[in-house]
């Protein structure tokens, strides 16, 4: 597995996309921290990168990579290697490279400029989001054989989690505004990793706003240690379950 993983990583590094991504993130982070007098505001701007760019790049890159190395997969499958080795070396190769890119591109500048608990949460949630969207990409790529369809599905997943879901939640709030929805908000936020990641960072950052009546439930749930444990568990479930489903599909799949 180590050997295969090495080839996968080598392959990813050779096409230079990940290096470009790293540099892009690094430049953006440095620019945000450099332009803003207040590092707190830099974190807010980076949060947007975290919630939109990181999932998008992760899911698109992982899908593209999976389809592009399909022939390589077939070659590997013809060797005496288990499907598990093949699948997870691909998965780990992509995740590790994207994770490194994120840690260097965002993690380092945050560490330098805003080494607070907020900064730490930003990096942590960004890393988990990377993993989640790589998992989702693998799932969608395993399900669909056709590349165009698969890429479309990947984009649709990203679009759903970053835009559509919030719109749905908003319309639910509007339609059910006569009912007590405080507890439901917690459930709604657990069902979308991007929302969850955002809230985990915001709870440390906008704590004074969330302390109002409006944020009381939020504050008591996400601010508490058990709430933090639940939300981190939810995030981990969000990245492990798709990859496990993808693997079981891949295991039975007729390449």
């Amino acid at each position: 597995m180590k050997k295969v993983l090495k080839y996968v990583l080598y392959d990813i590094l050779r096409n230079r996309f990940v290096i470009a991504y790293t540099l892009l993130l690094l430049l953006i982070s440095l620019a945000f921290f450099g332009f803003e007098v207040n590092p707190g505001k830099g974190v807010i701007s980076l949060l947007n990168i975290n919630l939109i760019v990181v999932p998008l790049v992760s899911i698109i890159f992982a899908s593209t990579h999976f389809y592009n190395s399909y022939e390589f997969l077939e070659l590997l499958a013809s060797q005496p290697l288990s499907r598990k080795t093949i699948f997870f070396s691909q998965y780990l190769g992509v995740s590790i490279s994207l994770l490194m890119a994120f840690l260097i591109g965002v993690g380092l500048p945050v560490l330098v400029y805003e080494g607070t608990i907020t900064g730490f949460r930003l990096v942590l949630t960004g890393s988990i989001l990377t993993l989640i969207f790589v998992s989702l990409a693998f799932l969608s790529a395993v399900i669909t054989r056709d590349k165009a369809k698969g890429m479309g599905l990947a984009l649709a997943i990203w679009f759903y989690f970053s835009v559509v879901y919030d719109g749905l939640v908003l319309s639910i709030f509007l339609n059910f505004s006569d009912y007590p929805m405080e507890k439901a908000t917690v459930l709604f936020s657990l069902l979308n990793p991007i929302d969850l990641a955002r809230i985990l960072v915001l709870i440390k950052m906008d704590v004074s706003a969330l302390m109002g009546i409006t944020g009381a439930v939020f504050q008591s749930f996400f601010g508490s240690a058990s709430g933090l444990a639940v939300s981190l568990t939810a995030l981990i479930v969000w990245f492990i379950s798709p990859v496990l489903v993808a693997f079981s599909k891949f295991n039975k799949k007729d390449l």
């Binding site: 919630l51 919030d166 709604f188 991007i194 706003a209 969330l210 302390m211 409006t214 944020g215």
Partner: protein, 423 residues
Amino acid sequence: MINLKNILLLIITFSLLQFYALNVNARIIKVQKQSELLEALRNAKAGDKIWVYEGQYQVNNLLINKPIELIGKNLPIFDGLYKGEILTIKSDNVVVSGIQFQHVGVTSVIDWAAIKVIESRNVLIEKNKIIDCYFGIYLSASNNCTVDNNEVHGSPSNEQNTGNGIHFWKCDSLFVKNNFVEGQRDGLYFEFVTNTTVERNVSIRNIRYGLHFMFSHKNSYAYNTFDSNGAGVAVMYTKFVKMHHNIFKNNWGSAAYGILLKDITDSEIEYNIFDNNTMGALLEGCNRINIVQNEFKHNGVAMRIQANCEENTIVNNNFINNTFDIATNGNVVSNTLDSNYWDKYEGYDLDKNGIGDINYRPVSLFSTLIERMPQAMMLLRSFTATLLDKIEKVIPSFTPENLKDDRPLMLPFKIITSDYDPL
């Protein structure tokens, strides 16, 4: 027949004698024991000085009813043993200085206080330390008094069983300065107090308000710090207030405000700092207030202006790093917003005159949305919320049309801040 001249002479001689007697007979009575203290207070004549030396004095309901000076040497301790009040002053020209008062009991009938001043003038209360008392310093119907450099430390239980740190009722022309109040119900409390100067006080960790005043016209509050109070600062029903160079910070909670202004009119709020509050300032029923050169930073909502406020001017303030800059509950706004610095401003300044060329709308659609659906707080800073705000900025339909700053500044003001920050 007694002629007028003689009468005059007699009066002058008499008054001179009085004067003479007052000054020459002004003794210094030194006190080292409890019994001596009681005796000294009983026998002291107008103008006497009582020096109380270091030690424990278990006293209740002491009364000063003549103009004397009660001066502590090396902080003697007056202990009320939770039985009642400690010191009551019912005379003009009294000085109480350098004494530690402790353990005043709690009653619901009378406001027991460590030092109570009733219907007196020119009383000076300075350098005292008050620990674990129901009310700390209590002035009632007294004028021209000074409360300077005192420390009040309370041990709060709940709002009912905790009194105010420094409490003024129906007073005029006071000086309240350099005091430190902690752990009481309201740190500084003013009701029907006029023409008073309140300067350089620190009021922290009180369970209700750091500063609370009602019907207290023409007072000025400067260089005070109000920090981490249960519900911040609340001021009500008052005209002609001047508040400048104060710091309001760290007031968190669903009903906590940096400052709550209710029915305040014709007042000035300048050079203050509102830092890290759930709500920086709440204006309700306020008219003709000038809010100039204040700094609002790291607040949940920097300023909330209810629709019943009119003709307030909000000029040259800095709004930095607040989650929401301005919130309101109506569509008609008759207040002036001009030349403020908003860190969320995204406009440009082509002619480089330091003023943004397009206006800024500080009320975001999302904050309006939260007014109606508090749960929507879940979407704070999400892509969807940002998108909604952007759309609203281009075509305003939900947020108040005329609440805008036509000349937003490109750079923040350098605000002259209080030089005194104990924390």
